[in-house]
Point group: C2
């Protein structure tokens, strides 16, 4: 199923970490140009508008045909299923608002920098996903007693670190079949059929897990009696310090708060400009480990903190929470910082948690803000 | 209207060019993460699906309210206009399919690299724009005899190279009022209201011109009797070799052909993998100077060329044309290259045309492709 491709030579090299002074490479730039983040001002939308939700495509967006699409469910099941989209859409559906984040979010803020998709803080989005609960499909198929995992295969095909593959990931059966986990086989995003880049026509949604688990362009679910050890499960998406460690699997989303940068920006530096006085600060916070219980804001890079108010929406437990506070800006260069704490006690770190793959780096966001003197002559942001 | 912001210091520095060995900087990466290109496989769509069309936002996507939006037309006119969206939508509308490209497309492929939005080749998209012809609005307002230019103001506000500003650009009146130029005041994209990042609720569309002319979040049109010399007209968007030159204005889109990369990719290098034999090559080509008259493909980086077939669609003169050819792939590492020629005789260069701002770099695209030997054991791309 995965095959090593002879003749690849230099075109599909092992993972590496950048040298100490090494700037972002042309390869990383090409990935940044294809795969985009959420512009931070778009945190203002409860549900991220189409085109602003982050996108990560490992290989290419496959050319899929919704009409001919089939989802097969097999392996260690009592009955195999072979369903087209019409049959899936005919089943009882649910809609869940889910905040999704790429496991590599924050990677490019690590030193040394793991060389891969170079995210800063913006690989996130929130959408309403509609589909069939996976638990219902598995109940319909019936799971064999020795079924241990569910392996999900998508249509995107490529080669990575020398291994040719279709994108494939597994979940423990306990997670896949747990109704409380709300895993969906989704065919709609924000009320419309899935866009091409978000998995058209069918994808998995695993609320609270990082994005690699949410297999896109999904066409097969196979239950196995042994753990899946393919590339995206055992090579990629592991927390390691050294290359030869097996590492720990990447799973639930670590807590993160993001701030809508206040005032207006400088085009190049993205430093913000505000006038002295009361400045509303707003943003979002989330965690895959449980509800966010605290959001704190600092204007001095984390020396002193004040609490922000969190607005929890019980209707959408898998979606980010809104937070807000008012900052009294005084002239000078300020370093706004925000950090989230979740119900399990996890707190965002002020120092980056380094690992070789650059995963789960939920280092606090830092926003540089220049508060101008009153008499600067700068006019306030016009509309 | 434009104001220098005192106290900015290091946060809004002059334009610069990267040092000879300088990798992409964190600031450039932040711009690449916010502003994305068209994933090249998406060239397969005649009209770019929402979310895949390139996005360039100078400052922030402003929070706009369609209900309260007004467009004013004034200055050297006989009658001022003050219209809301309902009034604009009530007027006779047209829809035009337009291929749009960022003036900075190709910038990051220049050496030395101008430090700004670091595009490679992907800053492009094609959409159906619906709106009121600008020529009709200007005829309604009546242009004074001394009117020379139309100045367009958008709602995005920021500071750039020390100059605080709303994004503002002008067109010569002859261009703005020319029915054949098809300049639109557009309120819909692909049949739906403009998305936030594409100018909601109103924008300019100037077919054949680079993207900087297509002012988004448009709220004012003012006719002037003297040329507009604000930041985005006289500092930015000029073709210069030295900083102190006035430079030539950036206007019409230079010819470009892009190829859908064949086969499947390596995740990191984006090198493509194909099997020996007949490989269909497809893509798009366009020019703001006139129809594309020739598309040529090379497998050896430009030593030898063969002609591709071009499919022109007379219904959409402002949109890219599709091209196709069949390549016979033989084992080895190949350097596929494609170049367009337009009716005005402009040809894409094989050497990058350098200028200090990194504009209009229509250097040919190069796609590295590994053709594997027959007996490599690599299986063909699955679906």
């Amino acid at each position: 199923m995965d095959g090593s491709l002879s003749g690849l030579g230099d075109i599909s090299t092992p993972g590496r970490v950048a040298g100490p002074e090494e700037g972002v490479t042309a390869q990383e730039l090409a990935l940044a140009a294809r795969n985009h983040g959420l512009p931070l001002e778009a945190l203002r939308y409860d549900v991220t508008p189409p085109g602003l939700h982050y996108v990560l495509v490992h290989y290419d967006i496959p050319a899929t045909d919704a009409d001919g699409w089939r989802l097969t469910v097999g392996g260690r099941v009592l009955r195999t299923l072979d369903l087209d989209l019409a049959e899936l859409r005919a089943r009882p559906a649910v809609t869940r608002r889910v905040t999704l984040e790429c496991a590599g979010n924050g990677r490019a803020r690590l030193t040394p920098r793991p060389v891969s998709q170079p995210w800063l803080v913006e690989a996130v989005g929130t959408a309403d996903w509609t589909g069939v609960p996976l638990a219902d499909l598995l109940a319909e198929a019936g799971t064999a007693e020795d079924a241990a995992e569910a392996v999900f295969t998508g249509a995107d095909h490529g080669v990575e670190r020398g291994v040719e593959q279709d994108y494939r990931r597994s979940l423990p059966l306990a997670t896949a079949a747990d109704p409380a986990r709300d895993v969906l086989v989704a065919y709609a995003m924000n009320g419309a059929p899935l866009p091409p880049q978000h998995g058209s026509p069918l994808r998995l949604v695993v609320p609270g897990w990082y994005g690699m688990a949410h297999v896109k362009w999904l066409h097969d679910i196979t239950l196995t009696d042994t753990p899946y050890t393919g590339f995206q499960q055992s090579v990629a998406y592991r927390l390691r310090r050294d290359a030869e460690e097996p590492g720990e699997p990447v799973t639930l989303i670590a807590p993160r708060a993001l701030m809508v940068p206040p005032g207006f920006p400088d085009f190049m530096s993205r430093t913000r400009v505000v006038r002295p006085g009361a400045v509303p600060l707003t943003g979002r916070a989330w965690s895959g480990h449980g509800p966010v219980t605290r959001v704190e804001v600092s204007e001095d890079g984390g020396a002193a903190w004040t609490d922000a108010e969190i607005a929890r929406d019980p209707a959408h437990p898998w979606a980010w929470s809104a937070w807000r506070t008012t900052w009294t800006a005084t002239p000078g260069l300020r370093h706004l910082t925000v950090r989230a704490t979740d119900a399990a006690g996890n707190v965002q770190p002020l120092d980056p948690p380094w690992n070789r793959g650059g995963f789960a780096n939920n280092l606090v966001q830092r926003v540089e803000v220049l508060c101008t003197p009153e008499a600067s002559g700068a006019r306030s942001a016009g509309a």
